[in-house]
């Protein structure tokens, strides 16, 4: 995605270095030749052509819709099948000519037409309205198309349909974990891994979020705090991503890196949600119980262990701090007092320290998204503490002042300990 920007920067640098005499012209030419050619991507003619195709397709759909009820049922079914065949046929043609993006688009359109087909067949044949089952069927068809055609778009359609399915099932049965979605997710993750595709890895990472959010908010048992359950999910995603990236494989590195980035942002979001919602907005706890089910706690602990395993393999200090960040966020939950038992100073301190560890971890490992996640987490936690609706404002200002002094003292000590960068 950023290849073109990198090439432009590199070209500008090469010209500058040649002018400054840093490198010889022959060296610059060698560097240019060493890079593979840029993929042609989509040019303007193709873009205009796609718009034209979409307009024709929309006109065709509108024409069919205008005469839908007059068309015999079998003919309607045949039109649906024909739509899918045309999309697939075009996709195969584009793929054979090396136009991968357009082939991907056709496979995606085919998957969408398949979804429309499920709805229309349900309408034509008066089928019972189990919407969730329809979503599952759509997901299966779209994922099958993704496997066979390598289409990232079809994968996206399949994951969206699966996410809707799982959210509906979670809503329907809030006391039961909807584990079948995990089977679908693992399948999609294996696909993204095999494809060695960053786009697919992003899709898979995003697809995990609806299940965790739905499960956190619908899992109804006494004293549950959704943000604690979310934190465990973020911990598992982050730790698993780090562990996968530590494996000696470029595929694992790419896939794991993407997962760990989403894990880092999820951890920061969970920290912000804990500060703003625990005992304030979502539910009040009478006792300071765990506030989260055992399976969620196990997920969180596994996340910490995986992060430590990754640190052990890669021997990177940043990953140790990442494990500390995960552990501190998880530690906030058990030390959080019940709503009437006082304010959550230890929990606030744990969350602030966790976000600081996240920032430092990103800086040490040179992973910018982790740094950004950490900074956003710090901002969110401080804002949440400052504007919390419960408790004494004076005590909170004292806490924030003490935390600030501690941070400055720590920074001073670090400054003396770390070697200065020579300029």
């Amino acid at each position: 995605m950023f290849d073109k920007a990198y090439r432009q920067r590199l070209e500008a640098d090469l010209v500058q270095w040649e002018a400054d005499g840093v490198i010889a012209p022959a060296a610059a030419a060698s560097i240019r030749n060493a890079l593979p050619p840029l993929s042609p991507g989509i040019n303007i003619a193709v873009v205009v052509g796609i718009v034209g195709g979409l307009l024709i397709a929309a006109a065709f759909l509108a024409f069919i819709a205008a005469h839908w009820t007059e068309i015999a049922r079998l003919m309607r079914f045949a039109i649906l099948i024909a739509g899918m065949v045309v999309a697939g046929g075009l996709g195969a043609w584009f793929a054979s000519r090396g136009r991968i993006v357009l082939a991907d688009l056709c496979a995606s359109v085919g998957a969408i037409i398949f979804g429309a087909g499920i709805a229309l067949v349900g309408q034509m044949y008066h089928l019972g309205d189990d919407f969730a089952a329809g979503m599952l069927l759509w997901s299966i068809g779209a994922l099958a198309a993704a496997v066979l055609t390598g289409s990232r778009g079809a994968l996206a359609v399949g994951l969206v349909a699966a996410s809707i399915w799982t959210c509906m099932r979670v809503y329907d049965a809030p006391d039961v974990l909807h584990l079948p979605f995990l089977a679908v997710w693992l399948f999609a993750a294996a696909l993204a891994f095999a494809w060695h595709s960053r786009a697919a890895a992003h899709l898979v990472a995003i697809a995990m979020i609806p299940w965790w959010v739905a499960t956190s908010f619908r899992f109804e048992f006494d004293g549950a705090q959704p943000s604690f359950v979310l934190a465990n999910g973020a911990a598992l995603l982050f730790g698993a991503g780090l562990a996968i990236a530590a494996a000696p494989s470029p595929r694992a590195l790419r896939f794991g890196s993407v997962l760990s980035i989403y894990g880092a942002f999820s951890l920061a979001t969970a920290a912000f949600l804990e500060v703003t919602t625990v005992d304030d907005i979502v539910r009040f706890r009478a006792g300071s119980g765990a506030g989260q089910p055992l399976w969620a706690i196990v997920c969180g602990v596994v996340g910490v262990i995986l992060a430590l395993v990754s640190a052990g393999i890669t021997r990177r200090a940043g990953e140790v701090l990442a494990a500390c960040a995960i552990g501190l966020v998880l530690l906030a939950a058990p030390v959080w007092p019940a709503s009437m038992a006082g304010e959550s100073w230890f929990a606030y301190a744990a969350l602030l320290s966790a976000m600081l560890c996240l920032v430092v971890s990103g800086m040490l490992d040179d992973v910018r998204p982790r740094v950004v996640a950490g900074w956003l987490g710090i901002a969110g936690v401080i804002a949440g503490i400052t504007w919390s609706v419960k408790g004494s404002l004076l005590r909170r200002s004292a806490f924030l002042a003490a935390a600030g002094v501690a941070a400055v003292a720590f920074a001073t000590a670090l400054n003396r300990m770390l070697p200065r960068v020579q300029r």
Binding site: T69, R73, G110, V121, H126, P174
Partner: protein, 201 residues
């Protein structure tokens, strides 16, 4: 592991794209056909059950060519299920139907699991729309149940007549019901005469 993935990828790339795209379309077509075939099996093998329709709120607008259907068996007392845990918000239930003197099937009892029935009784499967309970879902004392027979698409302009007949309780539905309890609309009767017959496909 990496070598295995690389060898599978190489093998996959040798397969012509037309074959892969064709296989994808075939799978999706098969899934659609299976939807229709499943319903065809109900119509072909199911026992016919005539149900009396109930008026629906007259403020409900006809949704294009789509008639909302409600039955005498759409709302039933839960009986022995009242207060029992339902497991999910919209649990499946099995309603035992028996024919009345007028040939219309009426509900006898509601069960959470399938039970054995002897002819002419029959078991129909439905899904409860609402559950009670604050901490975990339980069966309410009155159950609103959907059987998959609650909507019927007709050609445009013909729905209004059916709606009026439904609200005057002149409309009856003949459903095909499998031994498993799954049902599908087979025929619509207006004043006892068939007005719509569902073809198998």
């Amino acid at each position: 592991m990496t070598e295995l993935i690389a060898s599978v990828t190489r093998f996959w790339q040798r397969i012509p794209k037309a074959v892969l795209f064709g296989a994808a379309i075939l799978i999706q077509c098969v899934l659609l056909v299976l939807m229709v075939a499943d319903r065809m099996q109900i119509l072909r093998d199911g026992r016919e059950v005539t149900l009396q329709t109930q008026p629906v709120d007259p403020r409900d607008l006809l949704r294009g060519d789509y008639v909302v259907l409600r039955y005498d068996i759409s709302q039933l007392p839960a009986g022995r299920l009242t207060g029992k845990p339902s497991g999910t918000r919209n649990p499946l239930v099995f309603v035992k139907l028996a024919p009345g003197a007028n040939g219309l099937y009426e509900a006898v009892s509601v069960h959470a699991e399938p039970i054995a029935v002897t002819a002419p009784e029959i078991l129909i499967r439905g899904r409860v729309l609402y559950s009670c309970g604050s901490t975990s879902p339980i069966f309410c004392d009155k159950l609103t149940i959907k059987y998959g027979l609650e909507s019927y698409f007709v050609p445009e302009g013909e729905g209004r007549t059916l709606e009026q007949a439904r609200n005057q309780q002149k409309l009856r539905v003949v459903a095909a019901v499998l031994p498993s309890g799954r049902a599908a609309v087979k025929r619509l009767l207006l004043d006892g005469e068939p007005v719509y017959e569902e073809p198998w496909y």
